[in-house]
């Protein structure tokens, strides 16, 4: 600091700075920046539409077309500020703030969604493994698997709930079933693709070594399918939250987000912002589930990304586990 030596590297040139900026935009910083920029655009679109509506008295003529903007009234589209405010205010006199109630309800819904997700994933994987090994089964059953997804789940849900009540004496058992019904399909389709889509040369090599079916499955097909499976799981995770809410509706159970949606829809004019706030929390629950799955994918599929400090930390952790574990001495 005190000496200015000639041997110091050259000060960064403008091109170097540009390069760093490029690097920043390509990395995590860019993701955050783009996310914020798009968020601001969305906020601007929402509030802008409301502003235009207000200024034009909710209708104007664009040439021959009459445009009705009455859907931008506060009753239909509350200000975002009001939605945020609704979260912080209690919905019930002397009650806790709405966000507290909604987070509790989201926990309930997420819990059921995880159960349904797990059941659906298990069934989806099992079917895919079955189909990968039997062309006959695949051809015979696949049409039914596809058909199952064309049945409107909304019509099916009340029946499943009533059957669940009759069979198990509990409606809560039926709810993850409905979620699983929605969840298994992408898992089956993607996993099957991953199991079948192995390099022919690798398969030939395995066969030339006289590998058994099971060995081919676990050492070749399954590792090959892992990225496909995670793609499916990332589709399934937010869908599980939606599926659980659909399952909650006919039960009348008030503990989850479904109950909150019914309630705030019924009392919509007594607080439109509350229904929007509930929608927001529901979306957040879905995103949280998605991010968890995406993070798990990042942890598992290491061979597709450069190693970093967190990886080394995790490696140390696993080495430690192996160290204290009495069974693993290899």
């Amino acid at each position: 600091m005190s000496t200015v030596s000639d041997s110091q590297p050259n000060p960064p040139t403008p091109s170097k700075i540009r390069y760093n900026l490029q690097e920043f935009l390509d990395g995590t910083g860019g993701t955050v920046l783009y996310f914020i920029a798009i968020l601001l655009c969305l906020i601007g679109a929402w509030e802008g539409a409301k502003f235009i509506g207000q200024e034009t008295d909710y209708q104007f003529e664009l040439g021959p077309i009459k445009i009705n903007l009455s859907m931008t009234r506060d009753l239909n589209m509350p200000h975002l500020k009001d939605i945020a405010e609704a979260l912080s205010k209690p919905s019930q006199r002397q009650g806790p703030p709405l966000i507290e109630i909604l987070v509790k309800k989201a926990t309930y819904t997420l819990r059921l969604a995880i159960i349904g997700f797990a059941i659906g994933t298990t069934i989806g994987l099992a079917l895919a493994i079955l189909f990968a090994h039997s062309r006959l089964l695949e051809r015979g059953l696949m049409p039914y698997v596809v058909a199952s997804q064309t049945v409107p789940i909304l019509a099916l849900a009340p029946m499943v709930i009533i059957w669940s009540e009759k069979l198990f004496g509990s409606r809560e058992i039926g709810m993850p079933m409905i979620t699983a019904y929605l969840a298994f399909f992408p898992v089956t389709i993607y996993t099957l693709r991953g199991l079948s889509d192995v390099p022919p040369t690798a398969l030939e090599l395995m066969k030339s070594y006289a590998a058994t079916r099971r060995e081919i499955l676990w050492k070749l097909r399954f590792p090959n399918a892992v990225p496909y499976i995670f793609t499916a799981l990332k589709i399934t995770a937010p869908a599980s939250v939606v599926g659980t809410i659909i399952a909650e509706l006919p039960t009348g159970i008030q503990d989850g987000l479904g109950g909150a949606i019914i309630n705030f829809a019924q009392y919509y004019i007594s607080g439109p912002a509350r229904l929007w706030a509930t929608n927001f929390v529901t979306a957040m629950a879905g995103i949280l589930f998605f991010v968890t799955v995406a993070f798990t994918e990042w942890l598992v599929i290491r061979w597709k990304r450069p190693s970093n400090r967190l990886d080394r930390w995790i490696d140390t952790f696993f080495k430690y586990l192996r160290h204290i574990s009495p069974i693993s001495n290899d």
């Binding site: 009455s70 009234r73 506060d74 009753l75 239909n76 919905s91 019930q92 006199r93 002397q94 009650g95 709405l98 109630i101 309930y108 819990r111 059921l112 995880i114 159960i115 797990a118 909304l154 849900a157 009340p158 709930i161 009533i162 059957w163 009540e165 009759k166 409606r171 590792p223 892992v226 509706l249 006919p250 039960t251 009348g252 159970i253 008030q254 109950g259 909150a260 019914i262 309630n263 705030f264 829809a265 019924q266 009392y267 919509y268 004019i269 007594s270 607080g271 798990t296 942890l299 598992v300 290491r302 061979w303 696993f318 586990l321």
Partner: protein, 381 residues
């Protein structure tokens, strides 16, 4: 292989999360005494003061005193109480007479056993058709040529009957433009409907509770509304009654259970008449998102539909039953006249008798009951 091992550990951790999710939450399912008879009651809609009497009977221990372990099951938008009864998902259900008769006919035609009205809690109808005073609509004849909101799925009958009685054809848009109405009052407040269906205990209150865009309150008071009472028009149909399945009732032991259940439920409703604020608390305890002001209003309006009960609480007025059945027949909700087994009064009579015998001081008619003043709160909070 290192990767596989890592994957396995992650999988194991995921499994732990799932197992954690499976762990049952601490339910209020306490160990019940062995000798209590388990009974399930299916409500017509989600928990609200409309069903306060049953929650009162539960919380006051009336059901337990009667030897019953009662589970109250809330309803929802896509579930019909008759469907639950038919599937054996509940022993009792709250339903409206029109929809109960319709499903009874279908089930009986299919060789099954249909719902039977065993008690009639609401003695009069809470359904109204409301309009703003400046619309000039003061009665059914004024609906000619107007946009009239109606709830369908069986709830349209009272208004359709009233329109026909005034020579207006609900099917003919030149006579009256009937518009299916959602369960919120947005379309009415936005002026898209000239008149809208409203229950006194719910939607009517929501209009009064409405807070204007600039925060003004009240925007509307009862003076701004013309309320057409379908009880006065003479086409109102029976609303909340207690129903049980016919084959379940064939068993004499079940009949005894029904009498016990009805007597305890009647006591619950009497309690809510005399202690409305307690009953509102019971309801709020079940629904953390419900508005206190709105439920207080609803409790009061529900009491008005029950009290006074001239024949005694829960007793079915045969004349009203006949009117409901006739209207259902006229509008082809049912194809054949309702059979005489569709309602029975003996169980409710026995329940009332047992109640007056056990508690001679209990007022089961509420003839002198006066509805308390209830303040309308902004947004029903």
């Amino acid at each position: 292989m290192k990767h596989t091992r890592r994957g396995l550990v992650v999988l194991l951790m995921l499994c732990l999360v799932v197992v954690g999710a499976f762990r049952p939450t601490a339910e209020h399912k306490t160990a019940q005494a062995q000798d209590l008879t388990p009974v399930r009651l299916q409500l017509k809609w989600v928990t609200q003061a409309q069903f306060a009497g049953y929650y009162a009977a539960l919380n006051q221990g009336y059901y337990e005193e009667a030897g019953l372990d009662v589970e109250i099951i809330p309803g929802g938008p896509d579930i019909s109480p008759q469907q639950v009864l038919a599937a054996g998902g509940a022993e009792f259900a709250i339903d409206w007479a029109g929809s109960a008769l319709a499903s009874r006919e279908q089930i009986v035609n299919g060789g099954g056993s249909g719902p039977v009205n065993v008690a009639q809690i609401f003695q009069r109808s809470g359904m109204r058709e409301i309009a703003f005073t400046d619309s000039g609509i003061t009665g059914i004849p004024d609906l000619e040529g107007k946009n009239v909101g109606v709830w369908f799925a069986g709830n349209e009958l009272p208004l359709f009957a009233a329109l026909v009685a005034n020579d207006l054809d609900p099917e003919d848009p030149n006579d009256v433009n009937v518009i299916p109405q959602a369960f919120d009052m947005v379309a009415f407040i936005n002026g898209e409907l000239d008149a809208a269906a409203a229950m006194t205990y719910n939607e009517l209150a929501q209009v009064l509770e409405y807070v204007g865009e600039d925060g003004t309150f009240p925007v509307y008071t009862l003076d701004d509304l013309n309320v057409i009472d379908l009880n006065e028009v003479g086409t109102a149909l029976l609303e909340d009654g207690i129903y049980a399945n016919e084959d379940w009732l064939a068993d004499e032991a079940n009949q005894a259970t029904a009498v016990q259940f009805l007597a305890a439920s009647f006591r619950g409703w009497i309690y809510c008449r005399d202690n409305p604020s307690d009953c509102v608390d019971y309801v709020l305890a079940e629904g953390s998102a419900l508005g206190v002001g709105h439920q207080t209003w609803q409790m009061s309006e529900i009491n008005k539909l029950i009290w006074p009960s001239e024949l005694g609480v829960g007793q079915l007025d045969p004349e009203l039953w006949a009117r409901t059945a006739d209207t259902a027949l006229t509008y082809a909700v049912i194809e054949n006249a309702a059979d005489e087994n569709a309602a029975r009064t003996d169980l409710a009579e026995a329940a009332l008798a047992s109640l007056t015998e056990a508690f001679p001081e209990l007022d089961v008619n509420g003839t002198d009951w006066v509805a308390p003043e209830v303040e309308i709160t902004p947004n029903g909070e």
